[in-house]
C-alpha cells in the first residue's frame, strides 16, 4: 500500500521526516550536554566538597575518655580513685515507650524507688542523644540477666563506665569535693571556654572541691578512635587511634590522718578548722563539720537525699572554712596590738587602766570588758594574754577606724586568700568608705571601739584567720594557702611540685612582733585565757582565743550561756601556732555555738598540734590500719 502513494508526496514526507530527525538529534545532544554539564559540576567543580562529604560520611570519631587523675594525701594515701563498673542505661527514645521498658527492666532486676527517682531527674536534665543511667554498679548476675534479655530490650544498654570512689568518706568531702554528671550548665561552661571537644565521651565533671578546682589537670585529654562506619552507623574497621592522655595525679599538703584527728577532736560540734604550714601556705588539714558522703553524688544523687542534705539545718554542704563568715572576736587582738605598736599609737609598756569598761568622751555608754570589775593595770602583753577588752577599746579609739582598716588589710582581712579551691568568701573588713557605700551612713566612734575587739561589722572566714596568723608565725610573709603541692604526669610518672606563692615581706619591726607573740605565748600559760588547752604539751604554743557573738546582749544584761538556746550561743574561736619559737603549723578553729574559745576551740587545736608535732593521737581515737608511724 505505501508503494501506491505518489512519489512526489513521499519525497516531501521523507524530507520533512529527516528534518525532524535532525531536530531530535539536536534535542538528544542538548540533553546529553545537560547531563555531562551536571556531572562536570559535581565531579570536577565541586569535587573537593563532595569528597569531604563522602569522607565525613565514612569516618566517625569515637571518643575515648581518659582516666581521671588520682588525688593523694601528702603521704600518698588515696583520697579519690577510679573504678569501672557496669551501669544500666536507657536511651531517651524507647521503641515501646519508656514506661513499658522500665516495667520490663523492673521485672528482670531490682530497681529501687530511689534509683527510679534519680533516673527521672537525670532524664529531665539529659540531652536528646544521651543514654541515662537507671542503675549503677550492676552485679555480675544482673549483667548476665540483662545480657540474656538484650534482644527483648532494644534501647537498653549495659555500659562499662569509670566511676570515682572517695574512700576517705565524709571528713574529706569539703576538700576533695566530688564529680557528677555533666549537666547543661557545665556543658555551656565547657563550650564557652572551648573545652567541649575534649569532653566528648566524658560523663562526669568536677562539681566541688579539688575535683572542681583542678578539673583541667585531673581530666586529661580525650583520645579518639577513627572508625570506618557504614550507612547504618556500624563500625566496619578501625582506621587509627589517638590514645587518650590520662589526667594528672594530685598530691596534697594535707595529711589524711591529721585530718581525721581534727575531725575526731570536734566531736559532735559543727564548725571549721584549718591547719597551715606557715612557711609554704600548704594546707595540712581542712575540716568542715558536718561533712557528707561525696560518693552519693558521683552518678547522680536521688532527689530525696539531696533535699535532706540541702535543707538540713546543720548545712553540711557548706564549707565553713572557706564560706563560713564570723566576727573574729578577740582573735583580732594580736593584730590590733601589732597595729598599735607599728603605727606608734602604743608602746609595749604603755599601761591602760581597766575598771571593767570603757566610756567614750562626752558619753555615758559603757563598753564592757568581758571580766566583771576589769583587769586593772594592763600593758599590751597582758592585754593579749588575758584578752583585755578595755585595753583594745581604748587602743581602737586612739587609732581610729581608717588606720585600723588599712593596717588589718595588710593581713588579708576582707579579701580572698587565693586558696586553690573555688567558692571562697572574701569576708568583710569594715571602713568608713564601706559604710558610706553600703549603708549611706556616717561611721560612729562607737563602731570603732567595738571593732577593736573584733565585733561589729568585721567578718572573717576561718581560712582568713589562719593565713593572718601564719603572718604572725612566719614574721610577716603573706602566704597563699595551697592544697596541692605537686602533680604527677601520668606518662612519665614524675612528680612536679607546684610553685608556692609567698608575697613580699610585710615590714614589721621584730621587737613589735616579739611583744605580740609573747602575749600569745602567755595566753597559753597559767593565767592566760587558754592555759588549760596547753597544759602538759612538750612544745610551746602561742595562741589567742575568741568569742563571736551570735545575738546582741542588751546594755546592762549579762551573757549567760545556760539561758540561751544552743543555736544562739556564741561561736568559739581559737588561733594558734606551734612550736612558738619556730612555728611549723598554724591552726584556726571555729566551733559554732561552742561558747568560749579557750574551753572548746583550743582543745581541738591542741589535738591537731599533738598529732602533727609528736604523733600522739587523742586517747580515745582509733585509726584504721597499722601503718601509723607510732
Amino acid at each position: 500500500m505505501p508503494l501506491a502513494t505518489p512519489l512526489k508526496n513521499l519525497d516531501r514526507e521523507l524530507f520533512r521526516f529527516h528534518g525532524r530527525l535532525k531536530v531530535a538529534g539536536a534535542f538528544v545532544v542538548l540533553l546529553a550536554a545537560t547531563l555531562l554539564g551536571r556531572a562536570f559540576y559535581l565531579q570536577i567543580m565541586q569535587h573537593d566538597y563532595y569528597i569531604q562529604r563522602a569522607e565525613s560520611n565514612r569516618i566517625s570519631l569515637v571518643p575515648v575518655a581518659p582516666n581521671r587523675g588520682l588525688i593523694l594525701d601528702r603521704n600518698g594515701r588515696i583520697l579519690a580513685e577510679n573504678y569501672s563498673a557496669y551501669t544500666l542505661e536507657l536511651a531517651r527514645a524507647q521503641p515501646d515507650g519508656l514506661e513499658t521498658t522500665l516495667s520490663k527492666v523492673g521485672k528482670l532486676i531490682e530497681i529501687t524507688p530511689g534509683e527510679l527517682r534519680r533516673f527521672r531527674r537525670l532524664l529531665a536534665e539529659s540531652h536528646e542523644f544521651e543514654t541515662v543511667p537507671l542503675k549503677s554498679k550492676l552485679t555480675d548476675e544482673e549483667v548476665a540477666i540483662l545480657a540474656a534479655n538484650h534482644y527483648r530490650l532494644p534501647g537498653v544498654e549495659v555500659k562499662a563506665r569509670l566511676f570515682r570512689n572517695y574512700q576517705a568518706g565524709p571528713g574529706m568531702a569539703h576538700v576533695v569535693g566530688f564529680i557528677g554528671r555533666i549537666n547543661d550548665r557545665d556543658l555551656k561552661g565547657l563550650r564557652d571556654s572551648g573545652r567541649a571537644q575534649n569532653y566528648r565521651g566524658t560523663v562526669h565533671i568536677g562539681k566541688t572541691g579539688l575535683e572542681q578546682s583542678y578539673e583541667a589537670l585531673l581530666h586529661g585529654r580525650t583520645g579518639f578512635d577513627q572508625m570506618e562506619t557504614d550507612a547504618s552507623g556500624r563500625a566496619v574497621r578501625a582506621l587509627s587511634r589517638i590514645p587518650p592522655v590520662p589526667g594528672k595525679d594530685l598530691r596534697l599538703y594535707l595529711d589524711e590522718r591529721l585530718q581525721a584527728v581534727a575531725e575526731h577532736a570536734f566531736g559532735d560540734y559543727t564548725g571549721g578548722l584549718v591547719a597551715l604550714d606557715p612557711n609554704t601556705g600548704g594546707v595540712l588539714a581542712l575540716v568542715s563539720k558536718p561533712g557528707f558522703d561525696p560518693n552519693l553524688f558521683v552518678d547522680g544523687i536521688d532527689p530525696e537525699t539531696w533535699k535532706a542534705l540541702n535543707e538540713s539545718p546543720e548545712r553540711p554542704m557548706v564549707n565553713r572554712v572557706l564560706r563560713g563568715i564570723y566576727p573574729p572576736g578577740s582573735t583580732i587582738k594580736p593584730f590590733m596590738g601589732l597595729a598599735g605598736l607599728e603605727l606608734g599609737v602604743r608602746k609595749p609598756a604603755d599601761i591602760t587602766v581597766d575598771p571593767g569598761y570603757f566610756i567614750l568622751p562626752n558619753s555615758t555608754h559603757q563598753f564592757r570588758d568581758w571580766k566583771h570589775g576589769g583587769h586593772g593595770l594592763v600593758d599590751m602583753r597582758r592585754a593579749i594574754a588575758q584578752s583585755c577588752d578595755t585595753y583594745f577599746y581604748k587602743l581602737a579609739f586612739d587609732m581610729g577606724i581608717d588606720r585600723m582598716h588599712d593596717y588589718l588589710a595588710k593581713f588579708g582581712f576582707g579579701e580572698k586568700t587565693g586558696i586553690d579551691l573555688e567558692g571562697e568568701s572574701p569576708g568583710l573588713l569594715p571602713s568608713r568608705d564601706w559604710k558610706q557605700r553600703r549603708w549611706k551612713k556616717a561611721w560612729y566612734p562607737g563602731e570603732t571601739v567595738i571593732a577593736g575587739i573584733g565585733q561589729g561589722y568585721h567578718l572573717t572566714t576561718p581560712l582568713q584567720l589562719a593565713t593572718a596568723t601564719a603572718m604572725l608565725a612566719n614574721g610577716g610573709r603573706r602566704i597563699e594557702p595551697r592544697l596541692v603541692q605537686a602533680v604527677r604526669d601520668p606518662l612519665t610518672h614524675v612528680w612536679q611540685p607546684l610553685p608556692v606563692k609567698v608575697d613580699e615581706q610585710l615590714a614589721i619591726k621584730p621587737e613589735d612582733l616579739a611583744v605580740v607573740r609573747q602575749g600569745m605565748l602567755d595566753a597559753m600559760r597559767p593565767g592566760g585565757t587558754a592555759s588549760a588547752a596547753a597544759a602538759g604539751a612538750p612544745y610551746t604554743i602561742a595562741g589567742k582565743t575568741g568569742t563571736a557573738q551570735v545575738v546582741g546582749i542588751r546594755q546592762g544584761a549579762r551573757y549567760d550561756a545556760g539561758s540561751l538556746s544552743l543555736k544562739n550561743r556564741d561561736h568559739a574561736l581559737f588561733i594558734a601556732y606551734a612550736p612558738a619559737e619556730k612555728p611549723t603549723i598554724v591552726v584556726a578553729v571555729m566551733v559554732e555555738n561552742g561558747g568560749h574559745g579557750g574551753s572548746t576551740a583550743a582543745p581541738i587545736a591542741r589535738a591537731v598540734f599533738d598529732y602533727y608535732l609528736t604523733g600522739k593521737r587523742p586517747g580515745n581515737m582509733k585509726l584504721e590500719g597499722s601503718d601509723a608511724p607510732d
Binding site: N9, A32, L35, Y50
Partner: protein, 366 residues
C-alpha cells in the same frame, strides 16, 4: 549440527552489528558495576547474566521478525493493554497507596509496562495505514490513542510512567509530522497549566519536587537518596575512586544501588571520564537508531526506529538527571545498566524492532 549453525547464521543476519556492539559494551560496563554494587554477590551477578542472555535472545528473535508483521501486533497489544489498565482501575491491587498492580493469580503484573511498547506500535501502525491520506483528524485520533492510556496510568497514580509513556507517544506523533504550531501551542498551554497540575498532584509527588529543589530540607527522608547519590558522584572526581573502591557504594550509603541508582555507583568509581564514556555510548546507540530510521523504507519502520531511539535516551536522561539531582526521584531504571529483567527485556525487545527495521530493508523492497 550444520543445520543448527545454519539457523544461527541466518538469525544473526538480521542483527545490526553496530547496534549490537554498542549494546554489549554498555552491558559489559553494567556487569562490572553490578558486581561492585552488589558486593560481588554471586546471585546478583549470575541473575544479571541470565537476564542479559534472555534479553539478547529476545532481541535477536524480534530482529528476525519483518516489520510488517510487527506492525500487526500493535492494535491487539494496545487493546489488551488498555483493557488491563481499566481492569487495574476497577480491580487492581493497592501497593504503597497506588493502584498499579493486577493480580493474575500466578503473578502480579503492571499493565503500564505493556504500554511502553504497545503505544508506539499502535500509533506507528495507525499512521502507516493512513500514510497516503494523512490529515488533521488522524493526528487527533493519534492524540486520543495517546491520552487514553496516559490518563489511566496518571489516575493510578503513577506520574513517572505516565510521563514516560506520554513522551513515547509524543515522539511518534512528532516524527509522524505533527505540525510545529500544534507542538509549540501545546507546549505553551502545558506551561500555563503547570499551577493546575501542581494543584492536582499528590502530596508525595509534590514532596519529590520540593525535595529536588532543596534536598537538604529533608536529609533523612526523601532528600537522603539525592544527597547520598550526589555525594557519590561528586566524590568520584575526574577518574573515580576505582572499581570496587567507592566508599559511598561499599558502605551502603547509596540506596537502590544495583537498580535505579546504579549511575551513582558508576560515577563514584569511574569518575567524570566514565560518565563521558557512558553518555557517548548512549549517544552512539541513539545516533545509530536515527540513522536506521533515516534509511528505513517504510513509515512504520521510520517511526518505530526513531521513536524507540529517542525513548531510550529519554530514560537515560530521566534516570541520570534524577540520580545526579536535577530531576525529581521517579522510579526509572537506567537503560542497559540497571539490574532487572523486565526492563532489560522490554528495552532489548525495542532494540530488536529497530534491528528488524534496519535489516529488512532489502527484503521489503524486493
Amino acid at each position: 549440527m550444520p543445520r543448527t549453525s545454519h539457523w544461527i547464521l541466518r538469525g544473526l543476519r538480521h542483527v545490526d552489528g553496530i547496534l549490537l556492539t554498542l549494546v554489549v559494551l554498555v552491558l559489559g560496563i553494567s556487569l562490572a558495576v553490578v558486581t561492585s554494587a552488589s558486593g560481588q554477590s554471586a546471585a546478583r551477578i549470575s541473575g544479571h547474566l541470565v537476564n542479559m542472555g534472555l534479553a539478547l535472545g529476545v532481541m535477536v528473535m524480534i530482529a528476525n521478525v519483518p516489520p510488517h508483521l510487527l506492525s500487526k501486533v500493535g492494535p491487539p497489544l494496545y487493546a489488551a493493554g488498555v483493557v488491563l489498565l481499566v481492569g487495574v482501575a476497577l480491580f487492581g491491587e493497592i501497593r504503597n497507596g497506588a493502584r498499579r498492580w493486577l493480580d493474575l493469580g500466578f503473578m502480579a503484573f503492571q499493565p503500564s509496562e505493556l504500554l511502553k511498547l504497545a503505544l508506539p506500535l499502535m500509533l506507528a501502525w495507525y499512521f502507516h495505514r493512513n500514510e497516503a491520506v494523512l490529515r488533521v483528524k488522524h493526528y487527533l485520533v493519534g492524540g486520543v490513542l495517546l491520552l487514553v492510556p496516559f490518563l489511566l496510568i496518571l489516575r493510578q497514580p503513577d506520574l513517572g510512567t505516565a510521563l514516560m509513556i506520554g513522551a513515547s507517544g509524543f515522539y511518534l506523533l512528532f516524527f509522524a509530522g505533527l505540525p510545529w504550531k500544534v507542538i509549540l501551542g501545546g507546549g505553551a498551554l502545558g506551561a500555563a497549566s503547570l499551577p493546575l497540575v501542581w494543584g492536582m498532584m499528590h502530596d508525595y509527588q509534590r514532596q519529590r519536587v520540593l525535595t529536588l529543589l532543596d534536598p537538604s530540607s529533608d536529609p533523612l527522608g526523601a532528600g537522603y537518596h539525592i544527597i547520598q547519590s550526589t555525594i557519590a558522584i561528586g566524590s568520584g572526581g575526574l577518574f573515580g575512586k576505582g572499581w570496587m573502591q567507592g566508599t559511598q557504594n561499599q558502605l551502603d550509603f547509596i540506596p537502590e544501588r544495583t537498580t535505579d541508582f546504579i549511575f551513582a555507583v558508576f560515577g563514584e568509581e569511574f569518575g567524570y571520564a566514565g560518565a563521558i564514556l557512558l553518555v557517548v555510548l548512549y549517544l552512539a546507540i541513539v545516533a545509530r537508531g536515527l540513522v536506521i530510521a533515516a534509511r528505513a523504507p517504510t513509515l512504520f519502520g521510520r517511526l518505530m526506529a526513531a521513536t524507540l531511539s529517542l525513548n531510550l535516551f529519554t530514560y537515560v536522561f530521566v534516570n541520570m538527571g534524577m540520580v545526579s539531582g536535577i530531576l525529581p526521584v521517579v522510579g526509572v531504571p537506567l537503560p542497559l545498566m540497571s539490574y532487572g529483567g523486565t526492563a532489560l527485556v522490554t528495552l532489548l525487545l525495542g532494540m530488536g524492532i529497530v534491528m528488524s527495521v534496519a535489516t529488512h530493508r532489502q527484503l521489503n523492497k524486493s
